[in-house]
Assembly symmetry: C2
């Protein structure tokens, strides 16, 4: 029987902030890192929220995350830049890069920043959505530790490499697509594993490349499949999209790419002879009025959203959704009622509390 | 029994050029349009090559394609623009927009152009690949006539809305991803239909939303499914990507979007009360040295490509491919040996020949 602990958003966020400070983060970086992590929990992306806190802390302890980075720009044009995150946490470097992209978009219509020497950046939506208040379209992608095999292959070569676009509307809420380019995210496997359930075919293979319906096979050397799942259903497309994310994030920035992306888990060491530095992200923003007046665009976005909600549904009780709807519903509910944590995560946080002396109570 | 006609690339291209001139195109626009169409045939994307010529001509006859457009820029910043194609053919307006994007990228590091009031633009790869000789990454997307249902829906709301990225390498050939965001393209259904074969589940539904393995059901009001095919396998991701393409191409440019995108076939009229003008495209380019020196990037792209080719294969006789490999192999072969045309397409071209008096012989 699984039990859940419910904890208020502010209480949890303040605690996470103090924990990051304890690990040497500046007040500002601790506040930002906590904000990004908690935003994942609020949006219902539990795998990317405080469940990941201990993972980050282990990397800080191993000096694989620099707790006091000095970020610097490497190359720059009016609409582009690359950026060395100095081994810092992606929860800080990605928002910093997004600020630069937004500034460039204000000046010349769009802005694009490739980040090297970084680490996992949490949920992509946090970064892309930073563009929304400026009437810009936000874009954020990142590469990640290899768990996914390319179509026709049977080797871990790519991360779950997410793509996120955030697009503002007028009265309707923003359109926010935030998707892994694998058929299923790691988080979905974890949920199935905790519940002791099988997973659909087409998500995962065993180590030898044969199909698996057992979510635990990932830990035995199995591989996630790309969106499309098999060649007949377009797995080469999911592979292609994941590859683009890897190239923009890794090759364009000067970070590592493909099988060389350093593992997130601290008990696995990075490979030798790395072709780049750390992991990479790529973020950007288009100013809407670089193309048409923002109010005009947003009025049409409202019409787009309303018309798509009215799509004739396949099942009468399941209307067609707009990307971001589900996460926004979670956000509303959890902001009000608190964030539910499964027992395993709660124990994880209690361990951190014991180690740091920073008390966390519901 | 299907027979094929083999015809030399130059002969076919010259003929197409003269046909477009016959229909009122300037010499330059006729040459460009023929080049884009033939590039599809060369790359093995037969559905987007001369097989589509009669479709374009019917639209010109119906004045739904303007044979002598005056394109003009509507809004502009140093890195962005929107562009009214004046009802012209996408085969001309998309390369023109790409030229503007490349020019802007030369000046400020990246360039992005949204095009309204256009028509079908052929293969996306032609446009994105224009960036390659400038050491830029090219991007091209377009919306298209509604044939695809969003996840959880059963209504034609989206086109096959392709995404293309072209990325240069040093000694290796360029990485070129050009993919429909539907599970399968229209072209694949046509091939199955001609061969009298069933298609896999997960590509198509009947009019009532139930699965279909009969490719002809598309003509009976069926719907294509998005990449992912069903909710368990991420059809909401394919829907999200297709939606992004529709919004960038249609809403951002001031073109039509979603179910309002005008049909390609001349015997179907556009809907009333259209929210925009024509169909829309969105193209762009990033200058690589806006992020890191181009030679450095291209050397790492070679390493990326070589490492991915060496991925442990699932079947020993099918190595992992790099996006663009298959199309390049076609291009090499067909440039040398000629372009094979199925009987139905050959007859179609002979009809055009008879109507225009411009003789086409093998």
């Amino acid at each position: 029987m699984m039990t859940e602990v419910l904890i208020g958003r502010e209480k949890l966020q303040n605690w996470v902030e103090r924990v990051f400070e304890h690990y040497g983060f500046s007040a500002e970086n601790a506040r930002l890192s906590a904000d990004v992590l908690i935003s994942a929990d609020l949006r219902g992306i539990d795998s990317h929220g405080v469940a990941r806190l201990s993972g980050y802390l282990r990397l800080i302890e191993k000096k694989r995350i620099n707790s006091a980075p000095q970020m610097k720009i490497l190359h720059e044009t009016p609409s582009t830049a690359s950026f060395d995150a100095d081994g810092g946490i992606g929860l800080v470097s990605a928002p910093a890069a997004m600020d630069i992209a937004i500034e460039k978009a204000k000046n010349v219509g769009s802005g694009w920043v490739a980040i090297q020497n970084s680490n996992h950046f949490g949920i992509a939506a946090y970064h892309a959505m930073k563009a929304l208040p400026y009437d810009m379209i936000g874009f954020a992608v990142t590469n990640a530790s290899p768990l996914v095999t390319p179509a026709l292959g049977t080797e871990r070569m790519l991360g779950t490499n997410p793509i996120c676009l955030a697009i503002p509307a007028l009265h309707e809420p923003a359109f926010v697509l935030d998707m892994a380019t694998s058929a299923a995210s790691n988080g979905k496997l974890e949920i199935a594993e905790r519940a002791g359930k099988n997973i659909p075919k087409g998500w995962l293979t065993q180590k030898d490349g044969s199909d698996s319906e057992n979510p635990s096979e990932l830990k035995n050397g199995g591989m996630l499949l790309t969106l499309g799942s098999d060649m007949d259903h377009g797995s080469y497309k999911g592979y292609g999209l994941s590859a683009v994310v890897d190239i923009l994030s890794g090759v364009l920035s000067g970070a590592n790419y493909g099988p060389w992306v350093p593992p997130f888990v601290a008990f696995l060491d990075p490979l030798n002879d790395l072709p780049g530095k750390g992991i990479g992200h790529f973020v950007g923003a288009w100013r809407i009025d670089g193309f048409r007046p923002a109010d005009e665009f947003k009025t049409h976005m409202d019409q787009w959203i309303q018309r798509f909600r009215e799509t004739k549904p396949l099942h009468s009780n399941h209307p067609v959704q707009i990307p971001g709807d589900k996460e926004r519903a979670h956000h509303t509910k959890r902001s009000l009622n608190g964030i539910p944590l499964v027992q395993k995560v709660w124990e994880d946080l209690q361990n951190i509390s014991a180690q740091t002396g920073i008390v966390l109570a519901t």
